[in-house]
Symmetry: C2
Subunit: 381 residues, 2 copies
């Protein structure tokens, strides 16, 4: 029994390449994280031991970055950023909290774990160059499952030109946990923080919003159907963009390059992991400014709109609070507007006010509603 | 009910300051990670939410390192190592695998989680300067328990002059997991790798070995006694050095400084986390050399010897395979021997041979036995 029959197709949208997932998902009522083809060997992790496992999993990782002096295999990695500043960020992904292996294929999970972290480096307007990967995994996972996870990590590292320079592999008493630290570098003059937004700056977002959250809703719904009728296999064709945004998000490496090309240096920047609303509030709070965020400007894919209708959800609410979009949210000076206005990757969605004007959503009916952060919270939920 | 009544006393041994733990342990048959004084408020983590929790836990962390340009509070930390190389290492600690909260107080756990990682930076002959801390924690932990954990992290950061520059805090479905990434820096000419040992070099170790493993055996034994008779409370007085090495290890920050002072640059170095035997083999394998390791030279504390007798264990086996000592193991050129021979912190325990001579322990009876790595393995156990 295969977890997924996925066909990944590259396509271009808004001048940006996406991978499209086509195919049919087979849900697993009783999850076993393995390919149940009887010819597939199932190797117990304990046969390899820690060093054997690390060596086995990391032997394919290549060192491509000039800044990597020494990678895996010593007490620590040695990196050389010369005149540039070093950027460090870290994120944990926990089974049952951040992902459900019933519909998250391990390869996609590995890929996503890397993206989540690279996104934070790109949100500093920096170049990501290295990651460390630590996993804690219960013995119910055979080696082949962990290999799948690492295939996703490897694919991400290759596509984004990242060296894997360290990590730790250990057992857990329950489930799977992935901890990634991403490291990057940037000239100090181009690093963009969250606290630089000024009154009258324009608020800009890359890509479109809400799709990743809706993708999760689609997967959840189909999983419920499957639990009742295990023979029902959903055709996710109409939702492929949504499912792909949930299962295989891409970090916006291209935006740094695009902004450099357009000669625009944002005044503040953040990535959208917890929902647009929450991130806008972070920028405002840390920059001591207010905002008018215009509902009608929020970029939403037509599939998000039609699927919201199907689920009886408000698409603005989904875009504001959905999370996991991994788009970049930033502010620019008004004078930079002509440089970005023709770009299909970027949408101006608001403008910054003085602090006492507060943080508000301006609705299509021209009402001004106070922004609330209702995004996903891994502690509260 | 208190987890521990610990009194921490500073004392000096071999010119190196240790903290000594004195007192009586109260084991918990039914573990609840909290102080059960009814006056102690128990705050649920969900009341705070992720951002509230992070802010609450990190508000006391100070930035002291010049190399920290930006710490907690943005998408990523920004560090500046100027002409020096950047050192990165990461480790996971998992409840039920690496620690047992029945006898590991949370404050000690936080402290130890930092030490384990700093030790890897020092093993590169580098200066540790920053850490990121990620924790996944189940809701059975009240805020006060996580505060205790962070007190230990804070104490370690303060004593070792480390900035906490990032992290992630999330819930887990079971237990507690801590992921630390330590970052440091060093001039490229002083960085010491595992692969630089040469034939005829001397093998040197700091401190003494085996105590941390025995400390765990003592705690395990007393915990078994406690399970049978919950009124029995052990007096750990005679074992305080062992228990302290297990519960509050110190990373050998001082050895880098000492070696610089003595003008000795090791040819290879590693820290002892999995046991002397395993680490000697790593140095030999990566350096393509063999070794004679002399049993009679291995530094063992008298309390380790007497407690080994009590437990009917061989003290050499404990020193070779015990692990968690966090001492530094390194090789030096023979010509540097006069510089280190008088130092009570350092013991020459062997010398390096050509590769085909193999890796051997030379026993007190002058037998040459092939070295085996039987150290702790978090995947196999």
């Amino acid at each position: 029994m295969l977890l997924f029959f996925l066909r990944v197709i590259n396509y271009k949208k808004n001048n940006y390449y996406y991978n499209k997932i086509e195919g049919t998902i087979i849900f697993l009522s009783n999850f076993a994280p393995m390919i149940e083809d009887k010819n597939t060997p199932k190797t117990s992790l304990s046969e390899l031991g820690e060093f054997g496992l690390i060596e086995h999993l990391t032997k394919n990782f290549e060192i491509n970055q000039k800044s990597t002096v020494r990678g895996i295999g010593d007490d620590a990695a040695v990196l050389d950023f010369r005149d540039e500043k070093c950027i460090v960020t870290t994120d944990l992904l926990v089974e049952g909290v951040h992902f459900d292996l019933a519909y998250m294929p391990l390869k996609h999970l590995g890929y996503k774990a890397v993206m989540v972290n690279l996104s934070d480096v790109y949100a500093m307007n920096a170049t990501a160059s290295q990651i460390t990967i630590s996993i804690a995994v219960s013995n119910r996972f055979p080696l082949e499952a962990i290999e799948e996870l690492y295939e996703g990590i490897y694919a991400a590292a290759k596509l984004y030109n990242i060296d894997v320079v360290g990590g730790d592999t250990t057992s857990s008493t329950k489930g799977l946990l992935i901890s990634v630290t991403a490291i990057g570098h940037a000239n100090e003059h181009v690093i963009v923080y969250r606290d630089g937004a000024k009154e009258n700056d324009l608020l800009v977002v890359s890509g479109d919003l809400g799709a990743a959250y809706l993708g999760l809703q689609v997967l959840n719904r189909e999983n419920e159907v499957f639990k009742v009728n295990p023979n029902a296999q959903p055709d996710l064709g109409p939702y492929s963009y949504l499912v792909e945004r949930q299962l295989k998000p891409e970090a916006r490496k291209d935006i740094k390059e695009l902004l450099a090309e357009l000669e625009v240096l944002p005044t503040s920047m953040i990535d959208i992991s917890d929902g647009l609303s929450s991130e806008v509030m972070h920028l405002c709070t840390q920059s001591n400014v207010g905002v008018n965020l215009y509902e009608e400007k929020i970029p939403i894919d037509p599939v998000v709109i039609s699927t919201c209708e199907e689920f009886n959800l408000n698409s603005t609410t989904v875009a504001l609070n959905g999370g996991e979009d991994y788009e970049l949210l930033f502010t620019i000076k008004q004078e930079d507007f002509p440089k970005i206005k023709a770009n299909p990757n970027l949408t101006v969605i608001g403008h910054m006010l003085d602090k006492k004007s507060g943080m508000a959503l301006v609705t299509r009916a021209n009402e001004r509603i106070q922004l609330k952060a209702q995004g996903w919270n891994p502690i509260k939920e």
